[in-house]
Symmetry: D2
Subunit: 356 residues, 4 copies
């Protein structure tokens, strides 16, 4: 840890800081510059409330050195080198392999017919995994909240019919077991990234987890959320960027795309990273360019909301306006294949950069 000291610190204040550090089991070494001083504290930082020192007179700022996540960090896992991504296998579909994984499906499961028709259409387009919400977290309690277990059963039927594995969201620790009985992969949504009880609960299952970024989470907080899952013994985790809320959100999108996190994130962790362009754009016409740019940024897969080919606005209960129709998705997937052919994945970009 590094402690930045006030210019006008007194000897007495400095002693008190050193004393507190010592009580924490850290050795303090003063490094004097010509203009400012810093105090380096040497020792094991883990599990200590190091920032407490910031309250002591004479301290300007405290900078812990150690990362708060270990299992999901490249540093902490020697099995993965500087570039390799962990392969997360969801019923045969491999996240982190060369080919980006394509997830698509309706925002919410609304009927057996809807989800089955869509699943079969998506299968034909080469989609890898079916998404669909049975439990829907909605801002307003008066909006459609999902069909619950009935929705899960419809998803399962659609999965059997189409052959596509299922990813679906779980909202509550009490429902983890139930959802896990139907799903191939459990989604933790944006609103629950900080729901540590839920993270621990899904960590105790043996299902792969799709962990979305919190609405304004830092990269560190996101990786700590993954760590909460991993610490329970389940490190089959795929991270999903989905935009954040910022000072420019709303004028021309639903969330501010955060594809710029992908490259730094892949440097920190070996977990696969995918992107959700639908919840960034918020409008179908904006989805294709966001999808392509996510791949260009290194995303190892996409999750895209879709509606039936002839869906009408008054029929769809959730996110109609950002859903792509199968015909639109076909065009997009073709372009995605082109971009893949162009081999612009982050790993290769990085490798070619670093070889120079």
């Amino acid at each position: 840890m590094v402690v930045f000291l006030d210019k006008r610190i007194t000897d007495q204040q400095l002693e008190a800081i050193k004393e507190a550090a010592k009580s924490m089991g850290l050795e303090a070494r003063l490094v004097s510059g010509s203009h400012e001083n810093i105090l380096a504290l040497i020792g094991d930082e883990r599990g200590k409330e190091l920032r407490s020192l910031e309250a002591l007179p004479g301290v300007r700022k405290v900078m812990p050195v150690e990362k708060q996540y270990k299992i999901v960090s490249r540093d902490g896992n020697q099995r993965y080198n500087h570039y390799d991504t962990k392969i997360v296998n969801v019923s045969g579909v491999k996240f982190g392999a060369k080919k980006p994984v394509m997830i698509a499906g309706p925002c919410a499961v609304e009927s057996l017919e809807q989800v089955t028709e869509l699943a079969c259409a998506l299968r034909e387009l080469g989609v890898d995994i079916l998404r669909g919400g049975a439990y829907k977290p909605r801002t307003s309690p008066y909006d459609f909240q999902g069909l619950g277990e009935a929705g899960l059963k419809m998803l399962k039927r659609a999965s059997e019919k189409s052959g596509l594995p299922i990813v679906t969201e779980v909202l509550d620790t009490a429902a983890v077991e139930q959802v896990a009985a139907y799903a191939d992969m459990l989604q933790i949504g944006t609103r629950n990234m900080w729901n540590y009880a839920l993270l621990s609960a899904v960590g105790k299952t043996r299902k792969p987890i799709l962990l979305k970024r919190g609405l304004i989470a830092t990269m560190t907080e996101w990786l700590c959320a993954a760590e909460y899952i991993a610490i329970e013994g389940n490190s089959e985790i795929v991270l999903c960027a989905r935009g954040v809320r910022t000072g420019v959100t709303g004028e021309y999108g639903r969330n501010h795309a955060d594809w710029d996190v992908i490259f730094p994130l892949q440097k920190e962790t070996y977990l696969p990273v995918i992107a959700d362009p639908s919840h960034c754009g918020g409008l179908a016409e904006r989805v294709p360019s966001l999808a392509l740019s996510a791949l260009a940024c290194g995303a190892q897969g996409l999750i895209i909301e879709t509606i039936r080919e002839n869906a009408k606005p008054e029929e769809v209960k959730c996110d109609y306006k950002q859903g792509l129709r199968p015909s639109q998705l076909r065009t997009l997937l073709k372009k995605c294949a082109d971009i893949r052919f162009a081999d612009m994945r982050s790993r290769d970009v990085r490798a070619s950069y670093e070889e120079k």
Copy 2:
């Protein structure tokens, strides 16, 4: 609902929009200006996915008119006039009455001795309610997570000894019953404002709820969260501003103070609103001015983290640096009383403004 139309909309596109509106049970009336057109849609908006229309060609923007929260809105509850606040009674302490409610206590319950000593000291200072976390949501899984039920028991003992009612956080639906057995008031923390399962669960208890604002929640989302509780039959809700994360957070505070939400919020809802200056400032020396300014902005109470008079940084497991010592809190409470005497509460400010 109002639909803003593209300047170059075609007749065919306009017809399609009207058709969709009609299918939603809304009557469309075109209002033509000299330069731009709008379409007013008349009818009951509730439970409809109105924004779907934004995907139709020729639509620039859709503006729903109705509020998404009803029970907690002044509009929806004729018992409360333009100024009145609902009185929320927590074991005899009244939120929303003339005197601001003072909540104080440790970030986390760490020992029986710690919490009892603090509770008694706070009682002496005139504090109304004891706070203290038994279940702590921590960014890192390696940090202290609270003592759980053992902590609740210590809180209860401290409460009995000091005579102060208790507010404590609940993190998971599975723990609601347990926490409610000990606490006088249940806290929903920032990280769980979007945890709708938990909101519903505490709405089913008969305990008053302290509902903190989500990390970057809009006022609307916050009121919708309150609505999730109220819809279950429990409208004994106190809202708590605690700062949000923004583009200037971190350089000089932990969260960006959001006291400016208090006045508009009190216009929207009759629920009492309090403020948490500790989690904004992030450092004890910043707490007093934030506390006073919250009261000047109309806050009807404060929740302040405290540490024992002689607490040392290495001893406290959580938020040492933002905790006030009882002696510091005494000085602050005296100033709070002065500001109260100066009668600068928002209600009076508003009333005097509007009388002019």
Copy 3:
């Protein structure tokens, strides 16, 4: 304009609003729904302070309908259809044509040798335009502020030697004439997007303008800034996205990439839009993926900071850490050509989307 009314508005309040609208030359039409009322105000909105009505009792919100920018809007210029981009010609280099324009060069001009060597190297790589700052806006007054006119002369020499046209920043109205005497294109930087005196001044020149987005500017404000230039008779404007400051800036980048603005921006305006990945990434290794994703999002060019092949950190006065070396840029440009080959430009993405 649309006025959203309070549910409990009185007849008297409604009359006062109508009266005020009438005095503004607008006709008021009440549209009554089953739950809420709105007032549509018909007439020419231009040059009127319409939001004044928001202060009247009974008004919840006012929504002007007309756009504040006209010349630079597709709506206001019939020469450009739904897709076409205006060609902005900078000494033979065409922005808005099929091939993305590549601008590269040092952050600051530091010596004749530096800028000439770089210019020739960049020319060889196929770069179209040379960038380089002679006047540098720096956060600290103690940092290198640029060489001023001496720097402009060096740029000119480098331009003559390499054959590349020059774009360089102008910071002050007093320097516009001088900078215009040397430069082929004038850059308005992020810090000056709201400097209306400067925008007017460059609007009076006949030089093409590169207009960067302000640090947290809305799309509307950015287009209004372009309008300030265009209204003076100069609509040879290229817009440049360069990231904005948000609640997640700093942890893994210098500015939060805003490529998601490109598609909606291109719907609003016919002006070409390019992107600056260097100021988003803030670190050379992050630049390539940001550059590629900008193209995938529809950027019609890139501006990239470069350093000399063997530049050492202690030698470069500005932005060393985000500068690409020519060899790194070569690799990137090859990938850019691939992505172009994949034909993923926004226009085509949009066209293919809309054809469905």
Copy 4:
């Protein structure tokens, strides 16, 4: 400076970092912990591009230690102790003294009658300084841009008649001399906080400067802007908080109030700090509580927009909706005096805090 190193740094990489530091004139000292390493670089940091080192392999992060502003920092000026504020004298009105300075007046000067009538009314209420814009920076070029020199003359007449000194905004270096000929204090608005040419130009005058915070400026950037003025020999500077743009702006205000910066700012600098509640609230009814809370946070003055007692919305060209009428301002000023009586200024709050 402190360099945080990668856990897997090689000896060769470490040597290269040390070498680069040496070339910058800094001595490198490795501090090894049990888990992580840091490199402390000792020497004079000024004028060096220290962050360049972040581009070197093996570096995780670089933290400069020295502040980028010196003259305006308490550290750099031994005349001011831990609490004292510099007195900035504007034609007899003293910023930084015990009594908060009250500035009020119209957004824009619109007529001689308007500004004179208002000035006299404000004088009677005890206002200290008259504000009013002759040059108005407006988002849209079609909005009223101010009366220019004619407006300055009206201001001057109103000042003579009322006896109030004037503060007015200057937008362009070319107009500094002219505006300074009329004004007692020059305002640098939010949009120009990064306009370094303008900062230098007003720094060369002998007029006191009112420096508003940039739309999303950090505290450091703001103090650096003050330093640009001070370095020219003019340190008669008053800082003005006026809200910033964030992820929650717009729903219930114009800018997100930033009073939480006041306390930390006053720790960093001895310059007086005032607040502008009008541009935060954006609506007259929100201004009083924001004004009071600014004082409670330690603001040493307020600047408040006003309209004439009987002003109608259709008559006022700028910011009608956030203007207070004199009768409303009277009520507010009375409350301000009460809060002053309550002695809740930040300095005293801080002093009382630290005495404990």
